[in-house]
């Protein structure tokens, strides 16, 4: 929609590697050293999304600030640093802390608050209205829970590697603020 496209404004911090092929809609801020793979989708529909530093957002991952019928106020979705959103994961949680791992095809709903160091296992969905405890692990077909003693390790090596390799194979969005008009112009240019 034209109205949505004109609202798209993306602020990319220096050092972040954001592939051009990802879908960014709405008001998005991306922190330093964050890597966003192609085909990732970040949709700031019901409000802006602020993504912290050192995050890794893989292909087909969806970070969606979804409009809520029961609460139509605009809400800012804040995602902390050093998080990993693996392939196919879907995050609609309004608040995500640091050092979390959302494994492949996991789903976190809007009502859940993800604290720090949590691991949401592959294909698990967390939909309750609650605050997940720190260092919580959700695993298994029945989404079992347990709390472990330490957070998942930070993937600095992986982030450095990707920051070097991705620009060799994909177009990267330039750092800085891209305004609405420039974004609209880019959309209309034949690709």
């Amino acid at each position: 929609k034209i109205s949505e496209m004109s609202r798209t404004s993306v602020k990319i911090a220096p050092g972040a590697v954001v592939c051009s092929e990802c879908e960014l809609r709405g008001d998005i801020t991306i922190g330093q050293r964050t890597v966003i793979h192609p085909k990732a989708r970040i949709l700031a529909e019901a409000g802006p999304i602020i993504i912290g530093d050192g995050n890794l957002i893989e292909e087909v991952a969806v970070i969606h600030n979804r409009p809520d019928e029961s609460n139509p106020n605009e809400k800012v979705m804040i995602i902390g640093s050093q998080n990993i959103f693996e392939v196919g994961s879907r995050c609609e949680a309004v608040k995500v802390g640091d050092f979390n791992v959302l494994e492949a095809r996991s789903f976190v709903s809007r009502d859940t608050v993800v604290s720090n160091g949590c691991t949401i296992g592959a294909m698990c969905s967390v939909t309750g209205r609650e605050v997940l405890p720190d260092n919580c692990v959700v695993y298994g077909a029945a989404s079992h829970r347990k709390v472990v003693s330490e957070k998942p390790p930070a993937q600095t090596l992986q982030l450095d590697f990707l920051a070097k390799i991705l620009p060799n194979f994909h177009h990267i969005k330039k750092a800085g603020a891209s305004s609405a008009a420039a974004a609209a112009a880019k959309q209309h240019r034949p690709s």
Binding site: G128, H144, K146
Partner: protein
């Protein structure tokens, strides 16, 4: 088991009158009969660890208690633990005063993220270490085993003593007056009697000197239950009640009967149980039907008499609409016959309860796919024409392929089929039995005509409902 094919449509009847899909049957080439899992005697060849594929003989496995010595299972979820390394600054082994960065190892479950650190086991300097013995309470368990061995020894000696007593009672049941040397030594029996007496009273047999203390009550009365046992009440909203995660679940506790951990801090890595490689033997003739290689990494077989490799397979290829031949309760089926052998095979299908109208002659199936590629003639390789001299008739044969034949059949009373068991067919085929080379002749191939009974059950949603 998930398959692409619907295995319930065509069943073969085993020699024990049970119907099974062909992939579950074996052909005994000595009895010339189909055998199912129940007609077959399994034997254990060797044990192997499913993780490291290390295989051991049955005797060795008994000593190791059917567990792998190197691999461990996660006590929390049951998956295999993997060894991870981190570097930590520790006092170097050469010079205790200096702190050097060294590699330390711990076990981690990739599924639920349980680590040996959660179980209270410190990180180790070497990657392969008996992790289970390092868990809490390991010393107590070893203490028990020593005590158990002393007790078994003591009881073994007691058993010997009781056995000797029984022998003595047997010998000593005789009237002693006749044989007491005081009264008669006329026949030189005194020495014999003395010897027997000494045997009956084994004075050289000292009782075991193992101390088996009497059972005693403990001096102090049991303490009241530790406060930690009384958990605070679980609030209804929180799924992860405070303190609940410090308890082990029932499944976790039962998975480790040696420790029976009550708290999650007591969970210890469980030695991985081994699986066994088995060979199958025909119950009737005692020959091996399936004998795999000993090495679990090699999926080959020394003997493989699966029915799929020896008996032509019949599948229901397609169900067409009835062509109004015998009323509208009729439908045309295409049956696919596949040749498993690398030589042309003659097959003949016959319907036993006259519900299916089949062409009544013998058809020749070309060699199966891989062998067909070696043939010189490209047409024969494609299997487009019949390998025998008779040409195919279009009202009998739908198509041909390498080693495959599509036969047309007309099914009568299709609607009644859903209620009944199915259509019984008889497949007669040629089986090439490779007889072992004898001294005189070379390896000879004996061709036998075998029959197999089939049960065809077309799925309910076919032709019959199309007509309705």
């Amino acid at each position: 088991m998930a398959t692409y094919l619907n295995l319930d449509v065509v069943h073969y009847i085993c020699s024990c009158k049970v119907s099974k899909p062909l992939c579950r049957l074996y052909l005994c080439k000595h009895c010339f009969e189909l055998r199912c899992q129940d007609c077959v005697l399994p034997e254990v060849d060797c044990q192997y660890c499913p993780n490291c594929l290390d295989y051991m003989s049955s005797g060795e496995a008994k000593v190791k208690k059917n567990r792998c010595s190197a691999c461990y299972d996660c006590p929390s979820c049951g998956h295999t633990l993997s060894t991870r390394a981190t570097s930590a600054t520790l006092p170097s082994p050469d010079d205790p005063t200096k702190q050097v960065a060294q590699k330390v190892y711990y076990l981690l479950c990739a599924f639920c993220r349980w680590t040996t650190r959660d179980g209270g086991i410190p990180d180790q300097r070497a990657p392969s270490v008996p992790w289970r013995n390092l868990a809490q309470g390991a010393e107590l368990r070893q203490d028990n085993s020593k005590r158990l061995t002393t007790l078994t020894e003591a009881f073994r000696q007691l058993a010997l003593k009781e056995k000797a007593e029984k022998e003595r009672k047997k010998i000593a049941v005789r009237k002693k007056s006749f044989f007491s040397p005081g009264l008669t030594d006329r026949y030189g029996l005194a020495s014999v009697a003395l010897r027997k007496k000494s045997l009956a009273n084994p004075s050289h047999f000292t009782p075991p000197t193992v101390d088996i203390p009497e059972a005693q009550a403990t001096e102090d009365p049991p303490d009241d239950l530790d406060e930690a046992y009384w958990l605070p009440p679980v609030p209804e909203q929180s799924p992860l009640a405070p303190g609940l995660h410090t308890r082990s679940s029932l499944l976790q506790r039962l998975a480790d009967p040696e420790i029976q951990p009550e708290r999650s801090s007591q969970l210890a890595p469980i030695s991985k149980p081994v699986l066994c490689k088995r060979s199958l033997r025909c119950r009737q003739c005692d020959h091996n039907l399936s004998k795999p290689e000993l090495n679990p990494a090699a999926p080959k077989f020394k003997i493989n008499l699966c029915a799929l490799y020896n008996v032509p397979e019949m599948r229901l290829y397609s169900v067409g609409d009835g062509e109004g031949g015998e009323g509208d309760d009729c439908c045309q089926l295409t049956l696919l016959l596949t040749n498993p052998a690398s030589k042309p095979t003659g097959v003949r299908l016959r319907c036993l309860d006259s519900r299916l109208a089949l062409p009544d002659r013998e058809f020749s199936l070309g060699p199966c796919g891989d062998a067909a590629l070696d043939l010189d003639d490209p047409l024969a390789a494609a299997g487009a024409q019949s390998p025998s001299s008779e040409p195919d008739r279009p009202d009998e044969v739908a198509f041909r392929g390498p080693g495959r034949l599509g036969l047309l059949a007309r099914l009568r009373c299709a609607r009644q089929l859903a209620a009944s068991e199915g259509v019984r067919l008889e497949l007669s085929y040629e089986f090439r039995n490779i007889v072992l080379p004898s001294a005189a002749a070379g390896e000879s191939v004996e061709v036998r005509r075998l029959t197999a009974e089939l049960l065809l059950r077309p799925p309910a949603s076919s032709g019959a409902s199309a007509k309705a």
